[in-house]
């Protein structure tokens, strides 16, 4: 069975409500919808408090980013009984409080919806070709990757 899979990379913001509704409206076979919204924070990712950031600038690898997300979406669909799946990732300049990324998963069972959403977020963090630069009052700097994100992604590896 083919299920609705939507993957979008875009500079503009997205509407969480519309995306959730798009996966569930008019259907009576969906028991669970999980949404994850990643939002730009004003505190530095690597900072010990102190300096606040003015914006994140997200660079991506056009072409590969879509393909890489599509491969993981396909894997999620093959691993969990999903009825629908949406991934939206923004690029460009994003200010604190604004959305960065959205994953919505729909399933007849809650575990599948939760696990697929976590799987996709862990993979987006570590495998999707996006790079964050933080702009602050003292200039701008690239965000370092985190070991804890690799650890989170590793738990989904098939043995």
């Amino acid at each position: 069975m083919t299920i609705p899979v939507t993957i979008r990379l875009q500079e503009e913001d997205f509407d969480v409500a519309r995306e959730i509704a798009a996966l569930s409206r008019g259907r009576t076979d969906i028991g669970a919808v999980v949404s994850f919204s990643g939002i730009c924070r004003s505190d530095k990712v690597d900072g010990e408090g102190g300096d606040a950031i003015a914006a994140l600038v997200l660079e991506h690898y056009p072409g590969m980013a879509e393909e890489e997300i599509a491969r993981h979406a396909e894997e999620a669909v093959s691993r969990w009984p999903l009825t629908g799946l949406t991934v939206i990732h923004r690029f460009g300049r994003i200010v604190p409080g604004d959305n960065i990324v959205l994953v919505v998963t729909a399933s007849s069972h809650r575990e599948a919806a939760f696990h697929a959403a976590e799987f996709l977020m862990d993979y987006l963090k570590t495998r999707a070709p996006f790079w964050k630069r933080e702009e602050g009052s003292a200039g701008s700097s690239w965000v370092d990757a985190h070991d804890r994100d690799d650890t989170a992604a590793a738990r989904w590896a098939k043995s």
């Binding site: 997200l58 991506h60 690898y61 590969m64 990324v101 977020m121 963090k125 070709p129 690239w142 965000v143």
Partner: protein, 83 residues
Amino acid sequence: MKVLYFAWVRERVGKAEEALDPPEAVATVADLIAWLSQRGDEYAHAFEKPKVIRAAIDRIHVKQDTAIAGAREIAFFPPMTGG
């Protein structure tokens, strides 16, 4: 082949992409990194810690021991920080 650079690799190299034709002895991604590092200070700076650099061949993540023969597009970038 087309070679692409992203994030601070791009900033250090000073360009986003270029067409390159490395000699035949450059067989793997690691060889290509070593060869690029000889091309000037900006490359030496970008690739000063080769183990940190990630690579993709034709838009698929690869390890540095992967052969580059037949590649149309090779990209170098730091560890990803999306999501």
